[in-house]
Amino acid sequence: MKEMLCSSVFFGVMVSVLTYELGNLLKRKFHLAIFNPLLVSVAAVIGILLVFQVDYDSYYNGAQYLSYLLTPATVCLAVPLYEQITLLKKHLKAILGGILAGVLTSLLSILAMSIVFGLSHEEYVTLLPKSITTAIGMGVSEELGGIVTITVAVIVITGVFGNIIGEAVFRLFRIEEPVAKGIAIGSAAHAIGTAKAMELGEVEGAMSSLSIAVAGLLTVIGASLFAGFY
């Protein structure tokens, strides 16, 4: 059994999609934030790999073809953005102001807590790009002398966490405007958060897509300044 699963080309993709759909069914049935399809899928796949003693490389051998499509899919985020272009122009000041506030909050809160917890400079710069998309965040971490594998892990954890808690945060802070919801989730939880924003609505999805690009680019500049502060 183990050899078959390890040599299979489609096992990785199949089990990923199957567990995601299972998460979808659970969410529809129980309406609980914990049954987030992405979280259910990741937890279930990790469990299955451990139980059947399939190593990550064998799983990734097939599952990599899912990640392979991430670049063209990100490019396609231009389409919902284009469809909302009038809204984007109308609220340009609010959108840029919101993203800038988000980027500064991210850098400042990581700086403050790194000092409180007494992290090393290396650990601090590893965490600085945690709210931006993996491809940009990896570059930032490397440039500043961080530990890139940890940066990637933290970016993924941030994304999944943001995807799960988004709706609760909106209730807590009374964020009701669809544009503001999209900007908030995209600035805090990059592309994984955007997957959630797409579910909430077209406006949310488009604004979240925009935040990935703008917050990413602002963080490139901001993180290199903040790296000198601690």
Partner: protein, 119 residues
Amino acid sequence: MKYVRQFLIILLVTFLGEVCKYLIPLPVPASIYGLLLLLGALLAGVIKLDQVKEVSGFLIEIMPLMFIPAAVGLLESWGALSGIFAEVAVITAVSTVLVMGISGIVTQWIIRSERSKKK
């Protein structure tokens, strides 16, 4: 044929994004250049919406699936992360909630103050 043509256009723009990444020495990934190129092409009318709509809709819908392999990769990076996991968990949780809350509040506040100014 419609889907082949749409997929081709998306792949062409993605490839142009890779070309930009190769030529421009900034830590910006090919996907962001591609996103800006496609948006520019749509705004300029070089690419029409119905030339990419269905295939881009499909790719965006299945996008969450594309994050599963990287997240399962936590299995591999656990060794490096476990030493500082408690600190990382607190920092991640607190800062993610703060960033989401503050960027949302600021955006909403500017939208509403502009709206009331107009009235």
